[in-house]
């Protein structure tokens, strides 16, 4: 009888350890958020930049890590150090842009094109007043919708 109880306890403990291991493995390896299919806040580059550049850090926190779909006009297309495409969208501030790092490069996008870009908002960084350099609002993991 005692032997049966011992075996029972060992099996239960092993099962608990195995289940905990599987859950831990799944949590550790959960994929990044699927930006393409995520629900997005729809706005324009001009409005979104103006909002984030002019509100306090505390208020802008409500936009951080949110998925947004932004319509705007392309100012510049370039590549960063990792070879990722970076698309700058025009805003109402000369020198201030919506700075979008693409997860999937947009095809045939050139300066002047009207596009809709969907990505995760990481926030606004102030520029340099002494240098007369406005800041940018940043989106990352972006996809072109239109």
């Amino acid at each position: 009888m005692r032997k049966k109880i011992t075996i029972y306890i060992i099996v239960v403990v092993a099962a608990v350890i195995a289940i905990a291991g599987i859950i831990g493995y799944q949590i550790w390896n959960k994929p990044h958020q699927d930006i393409k299919d995520a629900k997005a806040i729809e706005t324009t580059a001009v409005d979104f930049y103006t909002n984030l550049a002019n509100i306090s850090n505390q208020k802008s926190a409500s936009f951080i890590n949110k998925v947004v779909a932004v319509a705007g006009t392309v100012k510049e297309v370039s590549k960063n150090r990792l070879g990722q495409q970076v698309i700058l969208l025009k805003t109402s501030v000369d020198g201030g842009s919506l700075n979008c790092t693409m997860e999937q490069p947009a095809d045939n996008v050139m300066a002047g094109a009207t596009v809709v870009i969907k990505g995760v908002c990481t926030g606004y960084i102030e520029g340099d007043k002494d240098m007369d350099l406005p800041g940018d609002v940043y989106l990352t993991r972006c996809y072109q919708l239109k």
């Binding site: 850090n57 951080i64 150090r81 990792l82 700075n99 926030g123 340099d128 240098m131 350099l133 940018d136």
Partner: protein, 182 residues
């Protein structure tokens, strides 16, 4: 009238000269690397703003902690919520000076090893640091790079005992800036 014209030309020339000393990038690349026997962790952030005055040597860098991208979603989540506390401390910054700026000639191609002194602010804690850096001048373009180590505990970043064999206390930070002339 000629005096006004002379003054205007002088001011225009001065403005051009001052601007010629200023460089900036809005997509500087910052990465950090943690190595332990059990796990290597690398994260990249290509959304930092840096400004450099090549005459005075002043240099600044500012980034959003939420822009660090990790290979695993859970790593990114833990970094933002438990370690760097991005909601409370959204930015990391560096403000400093290139000590030996005088030896850089922007008109001449070359690679210059320099020392940068300044204040590094991470996780709301500011520490004075001195790090080696390299400035490269190539056909009128200017780029800068630096690599140095920081201790997590110096910036009040606590690594729980349960994961201390997976996350290094000594973190390597690498910075690469490709500047544009203002």
């Amino acid at each position: 009238m000629s005096k006004v014209l002379t003054l205007f030309i002088l001011l225009t020339c001065m403005h051009t000269r001052i601007n010629a000393q200023l460089y900036y990038t809005k997509n500087a690349a910052i990465s950090f690397f943690s190595r332990t026997s059990l796990q290597d962790i690398k994260a990249d952030n290509n959304q930092a703003i840096s400004v450099l005055n090549i005459q005075s040597g002043t240099i600044q860098l500012s980034l959003l902690n939420t822009a660090f991208h990790f290979p695993k979603a859970k790593m990114e989540e833990d970094f933002n919520e438990d370690y760097i506390e991005s909601a409370r401390y959204p930015k990391s910054t560096f403000k400093g000076t290139i000590a030996d700026i005088g030896k850089i000639d922007v008109g001449k191609n070359g690679s210059y090893s320099v020392k940068v002194n300044g204040d590094l602010m991470i996780h709301g804690v500011t520490k004075s640091i001195t790090v080696p850096a390299t400035i490269i001048i190539k056909n009128g373009t200017l780029s800068a790079s630096a690599s140095f180590n920081v201790l997590a505990k110096d910036y009040n970043i606590r690594i729980p005992t349960i994961v201390e064999n997976k996350i290094a206390e000594n973190i390597q930070i690498t910075i690469n800036c490709d500047y544009e002339k203002k």
